[in-house]
């Protein structure tokens, strides 16, 4: 038998999180320790953008993007968002399953994703294969905006955060350059970094597609790996460092007062010393 020719190209790993849907009005749990998550959940909107960017890249560079793997860490139901990523165009899914009540902070997630990366790189031990992570810039539940940066640190890869434009300049190989436009305070900044790297997506990077019904059906047949923290040797390392003492409602505003005319508006603002 002939040896399989080395597959040079770019393997994309995309992190997806299952969150309370952005349109849901959240409720504080009666025990005051968290938020009721037994409501409609969906893929974190920034992660949809991360998946979309990977899929678009492959549509442009069919041969060079060798794989798009969607990765999620969470309880059994996190499989839903992985199926969605598969239906959007990812090739395979990796689900690191944890208990329903497990609390995973971005630091723990970065360690788990780094361990998954090492495992996947080992399986595909091609020196020239390039790797990149796509993650959302933040999850809309904890609003931390940490995981991508922490993952980059753990892997000792460069990072390009809050990306609104991505341009691969060279070949899809280790050490090749990528130009990224980032959203910063006051405008845009452009950096050039090298593969492998971690990208976090901002809203304006792209408009994610809807998964079509045939693609949802096809997604059911795509490879789906399951891992546990034990498989990755991270049971201890993933333990939370933060204790949530209390979750409360933000201070309520006394809104709702209406004025009848512009004149009334102006005089009320003058009274209040605002203009």
């Amino acid at each position: 038998m002939l040896p399989t020719p080395a597959r040079q190209g770019l393997s994309l790993l995309v992190g997806v999180k299952r969150c309370v849907d952005y349109a849901v009005k959240i409720r504080i749990r009666p025990d005051g320790k968290g938020v009721d998550t037994d409501v409609k959940n969906s893929m974190n909107p920034f992660d949809e953008i991360a998946v979309e960017e990977a899929v678009r890249l492959r549509e442009k560079h069919k041969k060079e993007i060798t794989r798009i793997a969607a990765v999620s860490i969470g309880p059994a139901k996190a499989a839903d968002v992985l199926r969605q990523a598969l239906a959007m165009g990812a090739d395979d899914a990796i689900h690191v399953e944890v208990g329903k009540d497990a609390v995973l902070e971005p630091l723990a997630v970065s360690k788990i994703l780094a361990a998954v990366t090492a495992k996947e790189m080992e399986k595909n031990a091609d020196e020239k294969e390039a790797w990149a992570w796509h993650l959302g810039k933040q999850a809309i539940d904890d609003d931390a905006s940490q995981t991508g940066q922490m993952l980059a640190a753990k892997l000792n890869w460069p990072q390009a955060t809050f990306a609104s434009k991505l341009h691969f300049k060279g070949k899809f190989a280790k050490g090749e350059k990528v130009e990224v436009t980032r959203e910063v305070d006051g405008g845009l900044a452009t950096v050039e970094t090298t593969l492998p790297f971690v990208l976090t997506t901002d809203l304006r990077l792209n408009e994610p597609r809807y998964a079509s019904l045939p693609n949802i059906m096809k997604a059911k047949k795509k490879p789906f790996q399951k891992l546990t923290l034990k498989d990755l040797g991270l049971e201890e390392d993933a333990k939370p460092r933060l204790e949530t003492l209390e979750v409360k409602e933000p201070p309520k505003r006394q809104g709702g007062a209406k004025v009848g005319s512009v004149d009334e508006l102006v005089s009320k603002l003058q009274e209040a010393g605002r203009i």
Partner: protein
């Protein structure tokens, strides 16, 4: 006599401390257990968000040292300004070309090294684009679970932060040895630029290769006040219908009120306004004295960015719009009539 008595008392205290913490006995006097503040700056000025973070750092109850980094020649003026800021007792500084443009790859290891070698217990910065980029990378290097975007300090290890787009506030206690924190720019007052007398101290800039290079930036030039810190903001939404209308209705009103211009995501996505003007969960989070929302319905994501404003005015023709539930003063009217009228009356 007095001059003799004082040093004797100090040495006694030192002995007592040595007794209670034997592990650190030989270095107790040289290691400070303080807070390190990352001071962000641009064009020679300290970022107001860093001054807000300094106030939060002061509430932790430890001595606060600042760190200023940047290109050679760029840091001198900032260091001088920083030594005068009220609340800082020391200003560390490092300069070198690799520290230009706040690239996280060289900055995070520098912060990690300073925190570790000088024994800081807290590393703190503003929750700005730079703070959000650099601090988590440093936190991971320090193996610390960062607490992002805090709005209150309860003690040296307990903080409050908004979650779910500000629809809930979580009080969290960290068990990490080194606490890495970013601070919401609107949650505390700014530290005063005058009144301090900190020492400046150069620290070694290690020669780290960065795999990333900065190519350039496009910053929106505007003579108006900066959106993040302006006391007044006029924001436009989807109802403006075009970039021309945005310019015609929102900007003159902002100018008449000496206000910054903001926008909802809908207005930004439709191309009416630049994305740097977006107010909301994924844009800027602001808390001006006066916020005027024109033609903005008030989606959760928008409210997350402005609901801490002191006075909220809403002008919308849909009286069911959710913005009216939080507006102090709501005017149900067509913006195309109401805004010009308001402009006229404000000008008087």
């Amino acid at each position: 006599m007095i001059a003799l008595a004082t040093p004797a008392r100090i040495s006694l205290r030192g002995a007592a401390r040595m007794h209670t913490t034997p592990l650190r006995s030989f270095s107790a006097s040289s290691i400070s257990r303080n807070t390190l503040l990352f001071i962000e700056h641009k064009e020679g000025n300290i970022n107001p968000a860093s001054l807000v973070a300094l106030t939060a750092a002061g509430k932790i109850g430890k001595e606060v040292h600042g760190i200023v980094v940047g290109k050679q020649g760029e840091t001198d003026g900032v260091v001088e300004k920083a030594t005068k800021v009220s609340g800082l007792s020391k200003v560390l500084h490092a300069s070198g070309d690799k520290y230009a443009s706040n690239l996280p790859e060289p900055l995070a290891p520098l912060l990690q090294e300073l925190v570790s070698s000088k024994g800081y217990t807290h590393l703190i910065a503003g929750h700005t684009a730079v703070g959000r980029d650099v601090l988590p990378r440093a936190a991971a290097l320090l193996d610390s679970s960062q607490v992002s975007d805090i709005v209150a300090v309860h003690s040296e290890d307990t903080f409050e932060r908004p979650i779910y787009a500000g629809n809930a506030i979580a009080k969290v206690k960290t068990s990490d040895k080194i606490k890495v924190i970013t601070v919401r720019g609107t949650a505390f007052d700014k530290a005063a630029l005058e009144g301090g007398s900190a020492q400046a101290e150069a620290v070694d800039a290690k020669d780290a290769e960065s795999p990333t290079t900065f190519l350039g930036e496009k910053i929106n030039q505007s003579s108006r006040p900066d959106l993040a810190t302006a006391p007044r903001v006029v924001s436009g939404g989807r109802a403006l219908k075009s970039a021309e209308n945005f310019e015609k209705y929102i900007e003159p009103l902002a100018d008449a009120l000496n206000a910054a211009v903001g926008a909802s995501r809908a207005a930004v996505d439709a191309g009416y306004a630049d994305n740097a003007l977006q107010v909301g969960q994924t844009g800027k989070i602001i808390a001006p004295e006066l916020y005027v929302a024109v033609g903005i319905s008030g989606a959760i994501q928008h409210l997350a960015g402005m609901k801490d404003s002191k006075t909220i005015v809403a002008i919308n023709k849909d009286e069911e719009a959710p913005i009216f539930q939080i507006a102090d003063l709501g005017l149900v009217a067509d913006l195309y009539n109401a805004v010009p009228e308001l402009l006229e009356k404000v000008k008087k």
